[in-house]
Symmetry: C2
């Protein structure tokens, strides 16, 4: 078995705390309009549109578009559903950038710096390049390279998303480890021959999270944080 050379990270939920951050921006926006909303519920509804939007592309019913565009379309749909039609176009455009401003979990920045000493750190996210780069600048995430949907042309969990990311690094899939808080991402990565690390993020979906609280297979590594993962990998 080839030694692990690169760690490829899922980002939303695994590295950054999207729900709290997006809800915070929705809340601030609502205050500006003098309205009261359940910001976490709207954040959840926005995120719930994420997989169906990508599925249109994965299923070849629509050509590839970057996530910023899908997020923006999904936002219009969600605001309409919550009767928030008064939010202006400019404010919607600005709110859409909330995804560029997500903050890491408390261990993310420090853990990545430790892991970077021994491994190539790549993002393998469905987020587009600008989103991931702006987030990294704001949240101090020390990536070596931004891969993911905009580079590979495929949204996870398409097999090509994993294969092309590893190929872009010039590495066999087994020398690349997918790091994710989501069992389904790891199942898809393992199917393509990648190594797997599950980092549990029990607060991703708020206090009532029921999914991904435990590893659902014998993943190569199981960790409670990136700092824990770095220790297990002897970084």
């Amino acid at each position: 078995m080839a030694p692990i050379k690169a760690l490829l990270f899922d980002v939303f939920g695994t590295v950054v705390d999207w729900r709290r951050c997006v809800a915070g921006e929705i809340d601030a926006m609502a205050k500006k309009y003098g309205i009261e909303v359940d910001a976490a519920e709207i954040a959840d509804a926005w995120r719930a549109e994420y997989q169906p939007a990508m599925e249109e592309i994965r299923a070849d019913r629509r050509p590839f578009d970057i996530l910023d565009i899908l997020h923006r379309e999904n936002l219009d749909r969600v605001l309409a559903r919550f009767n928030l039609d008064q939010i202006s176009i400019d404010d919607r455009d600005e709110l859409n950038l909330a995804w560029h401003r997500l903050q890491g979990w408390p261990d993310s920045a420090e853990g990545l710096k430790a892991l970077k000493r021994r491994f190539i750190l790549a993002t393998q996210s469905n987020g587009n390049i600008a989103l991931i780069v702006n987030m990294a600048k704001g949240a101090d995430l020390a990536w070596d390279v931004v891969l993911g949907a905009e580079v590979t042309g495929y949204y996870k969990p398409c097999p090509q998303a994993y294969d092309r990311a590893c190929a872009a690094l010039g590495l066999p899939n087994e020398a690349c480890m997918m790091v994710a808080a989501h069992n389904d991402d790891l199942f898809a990565a393992r199917q393509q021959g990648m190594r797997t690390a599950f980092v549990c993020r029990p607060a991703e979906h708020g206090p009532n999270q029921t999914k991904d609280l435990t590893p659902e297979a014998d993943w190569d590594y199981v960790a409670t944080s990136f700092i824990d993962l770095a220790a297990q990998l002897k970084c």
Copy 2:
């Protein structure tokens, strides 16, 4: 005029000292075979095949291939010309990775770290992703994101190479500054509306360099090193 948000770097010659490094690896390889060669001459010959190989792709006479593949084909051609047919396939494959192991100019690592405090730092190189990532790990080059030919699908100086790199960052071209030691790269970038910085690298082609010793236009910035550029940009 939008403020500059991102610096896009040419890499070969601007960031790394390809001639000395490649010649050093050719020299070591020749010694292994007990032969004497003019390693710098072979390095120059190898590099001279670079533009013609990309031109086949730019002119649509061949589909896109990454630079590792072009470098490897060019190496065979050059070794044949220098009557070095005895170099084994494995050794050729290994020598081809010399481009992944290039070292920076003395100011490169430190200068990039200073520039990174204020700007997004992107590679905008014809090198492929693996080449640029491996080089960055070896030479301590603190990129935020790897762009360039493999991401945009176009080799410089095609206009699309510049336009698509800026678009991937979600920025107007005028918010992006091309940093290069080559006037022709800057002319092409300016043509697409990018800002321009010329960093003079008078030793890129060895002691007898005649090209790119001076700025050939009124570039937005002219610097003697990345540290000088960082000071001018108040980093």
